[in-house]
């Protein structure tokens, strides 16, 4: 049911009956290492190309989530998935092998919550009994497509972020046990004129704040109603700006705990390569599905809001001097029986 301007409230509160996360070596060395289902020491996953490796990450996360739910691929009615590659090849090619009716979505790094919101809407509306939401990203495929060859020696500025290698998948259904999805807010595209592709956090922060603001006003809530609000991949620069913007716009974020997935996934003291923090579709996906939902199942916190942020640029658009349009989608999840 639509609430306010851009929020869906799910009356039946669909359940996330299972999730799976598969990550690469750097994520396995981070502080959340115990939260992931599978850690791959080889970023190539014994594949001949980075792209094939990312596809495999996607496929493994989906298969693992389905088997953890005690289901077969035939039991899944529909899947929503996407990634960062041109023409979303990672998810589409993985869907070819999974043979589940598939809707490809693109929201850049916000794809994690975009696909989850769509899957929840299907289940809540009765369009699907069981739906799958999945996304992936790979550090090397993203570097190759958006920046320079991975072995090219260019000096990155302190605002640069490190794309997470990994994939996350969630199986959504009615009933059963697991965290509930109570609402989702679909974001607007916000462009504040930032042009630097090495400063994604600053480009995406206004989109995140806009979606948080709309979510709260649509549901007539305050940050106090949440035990935790996390953004997807604003990293250190974007997080500071987001806090400042919320203060300017009178959103009392200090009433709750606010964090960012890009700040949670790596160890800033030991992993110096990450610069400002993590990014990529998998960043919010593996932190949410691996870490935050486990916290919800153990009952503390009770209600969280995940605001996944995406920069909708292409290598062509920034080479032509265009600014970076950004988007953020929020999904509200609650512990069972909240």
């Amino acid at each position: 049911m639509r609430r306010g301007k851009q929020t869906w409230e799910f009356n039946q509160k669909p359940t996330i009956i299972a999730t799976a996360t598969v990550v690469g070596p750097d994520e396995g060395k981070g502080p959340l290492t115990d939260c992931f289902d599978e850690i791959n020491d080889d970023p190539m996953l014994q594949q001949p190309s980075w792209e094939k490796a990312e596809r495999l990450l996607f496929e493994r996360a989906c298969e693992l989530a389905i088997s953890k739910a005690g289901k077969q691929t035939e039991d899944i009615d529909f899947m929503a998935g996407g990634d960062l590659m041109n023409q979303i090849i990672s998810s589409s090619f993985a869907a070819r092998n999974l043979a589940i009716p598939y809707v490809g979505v693109f929201g850049a790094c916000s794809t994690s919550m975009l696909s989850l919101a769509i899957a929840s809407q299907w289940v809540d509306a009765g369009a699907a009994r069981t739906a799958l939401a999945a996304t992936s990203s790979h550090n090397s495929t993203a570097e190759k497509q958006f920046r320079y060859p991975t072995e090219y020696g260019s000096q990155k500025p302190p605002t640069a972020q490190y794309t997470v290698t990994g994939a996350g998948a969630a199986v959504v259904a009615l009933g059963g046990s697991g965290p509930r999805i109570s609402s989702a807010t679909i974001g607007k595209v916000v462009d504040m004129g930032i042009k630097d592709p090495f400063n994604m956090g600053a480009a995406m922060a206004p989109a995140a704040v806009d979606t948080i603001k709309m979510h709260l006003s649509d549901l007539n809530r305050t940050p106090k109603d949440y035990d935790l609000i996390v953004t997807g991949d604003l990293a250190s620069v974007g997080k500071t700006i987001a806090l400042e913007l919320m203060q300017q716009q009178n959103i009392p974020i200090e009433q709750t705990v606010y964090d960012d997935c890009g700040m949670m996934i790596y160890d800033f003291a030991k992993q110096k390569d990450i610069m400002a923090g993590g990014s990529g579709c998998a960043c919010s996906a593996v932190v949410t599905y691996g870490h935050l939902l486990t916290m919800l199942t153990t009952g503390k916190p009770k209600r969280i809001l995940v605001v996944a942020t995406g920069a909708l640029l292409s290598p062509l658009s920034y080479q032509q001097g265009e600014t970076i349009p950004c988007i953020a989608h929020a999904v509200c999840m609650e512990s069972e029986g909240y």
């Binding site: 190309s49 980075w50 320079y148 991975t150 072995e151 000096q155 600053a202």
Partner: protein, 168 residues
């Protein structure tokens, strides 16, 4: 007509407001942008670039002393050895880490050029030898060659003009 005018005026007003908001935000973003450590970056570039050049000089000296090259002929094998070392370090995944520390110090010498070529070649090996390696090898280094040639042409032209005007 008046209605259309009003609409245009409203649209313009909205655009102006948006531009103002964007400008305000960009100022805020700039404030929160951690600055590049220019001083240390320059120092590191000086040390790294200098060290590479000293190493190159050492190779030249070795060529002259032990392999009977004269100074001019020693230049080519020196460059070839530097390129080979750079390509090896690129393949082992070391050069990019060194470059993050060294910055311009590793980009400016011939080793940086070799890294730009070989990293692109390795990156696109998956797309085949022709469309991948062949087509992408000059992706980064191509600009250097194009504008290097253009600059050489312009300098040559200036030289020619000055000479024809009676210079030496």
């Amino acid at each position: 007509m008046a209605k259309v005018d009003r609409q245009t005026a409203q649209k313009q007003h909205k655009q102006q407001q948006q531009q103002k908001e964007q400008a305000n935000y960009q100022a805020l973003a700039k404030q929160n942008e951690p600055p590049r450590p220019l001083g240390t970056n320059m120092l590191k570039a000086f040390v790294a670039g200098g060290a590479i050049c000293v190493f190159g000089q050492a190779i030249t000296e070795a060529m002259v002393h032990w392999f009977d090259f004269d100074r001019k002929a020693a230049g080519n094998p020196t460059v070839a050895i530097l390129i080979m070392i750079s390509v090896l370090l690129t393949s082992f995944g070391v050069y990019d880490k060194f470059a993050q520390w060294a910055g311009a110090g590793s980009a400016v010498p011939v080793t940086g050029f070799a890294n730009a070529m070989s990293s692109a070649a390795i990156e696109h090996r998956a797309e085949g030898l022709v469309l991948g390696v062949g087509g992408n090898m000059f992706k980064l280094a191509g600009a250097v060659i194009v504008y290097g040639t253009v600059a050489a042409f312009v300098v040559g032209l200036v030289h020619l003009i000055l000479k024809s005007l009676g210079g030496s």
